[in-house]
Symmetry: C2
Subunit: 145 residues, 2 copies
């Protein structure tokens, strides 16, 4: 079997999966990763501090409590569920160190880092274009009434 | 007032908004655009046919019925709601032509196109890395039992 280049592998995968199709597993994966908590967890672990712009910082390991603090307003249930799903999908690792109390750290895998590259653009876009969106809503609402 | 370059404007916007903060409008905008139907509508209007890879095709106007067909499985209610929200946010235009019956076309704005550039990478990622994610899930589930 010939060895494929990574570009060829990607092209092949795109032929095998199509998220436009309701029954395609990639539709369900898209649904999974199209989630604000997923975006914010990946941004936090990928070391986006909200001011580094297009320059990706190094990935870092974070404790549960650190993540919980950075993602203001996330419920414990939601954070736990989302972290477990991301671990199952191979996007992050969960490492338990037997200290007292135990230390649990989360870190992006290479697969998680590859998604982080794509997803960080979404968070930046939301922050950069907020003013334009607010102006558009005001115009829309003024015409709707 | 000095004219800012677009890079300076983006840097300023990133200082004013931070999606990590629960009360920031950009958190709510991130939630709005982190949605599989938003991703698929932008991909369809941005002319991603599922095989064009990293090369963005030209944007195109699509009728409601065309969108409904391409986004297999979307309910009429969900499609209508999502299109209205995207129009309100200034991401697409809705043009009504008074034919019999009337023709309604949707087209990305420049703002919508800028988000499309970011969001299309998410759809491609889901399709390209599906096999890796499936393998990871199998490993995770095997260890969990």
């Amino acid at each position: 079997m010939p060895t494929l280049t990574s570009a060829q592998r990607r092209a092949q995968a795109r032929q095998e999966y199509d998220a436009f199709l309701a029954g395609c597993p990639s539709r369900q994966l898209l649904d999974r990763i199209s989630d604000k908590w997923v975006t914010l967890i990946l941004a936090a672990l990928g070391d986006d501090d909200g001011s580094c712009g297009q320059v990706a910082g190094p990935a870092r390991a974070m404790r549960y409590s650190e993540l919980s603090r950075q993602l203001a307003g996330v419920s414990q249930k939601m954070l736990t569920q989302t972290l477990r799903a991301l671990e199952r999908d191979g996007l992050l690792t969960r490492t338990v160190t037997p200290t007292v109390p135990v230390t649990v750290r989360y870190e992006l895998t290479d697969l998680g880092l590859s998604l982080h590259q794509a997803i960080r653009a979404i968070k930046s876009w939301a922050e950069e274009h907020m003013d334009e969106v607010i102006r558009s809503r005001e115009t829309y609402d003024a015409h709707a009434t």
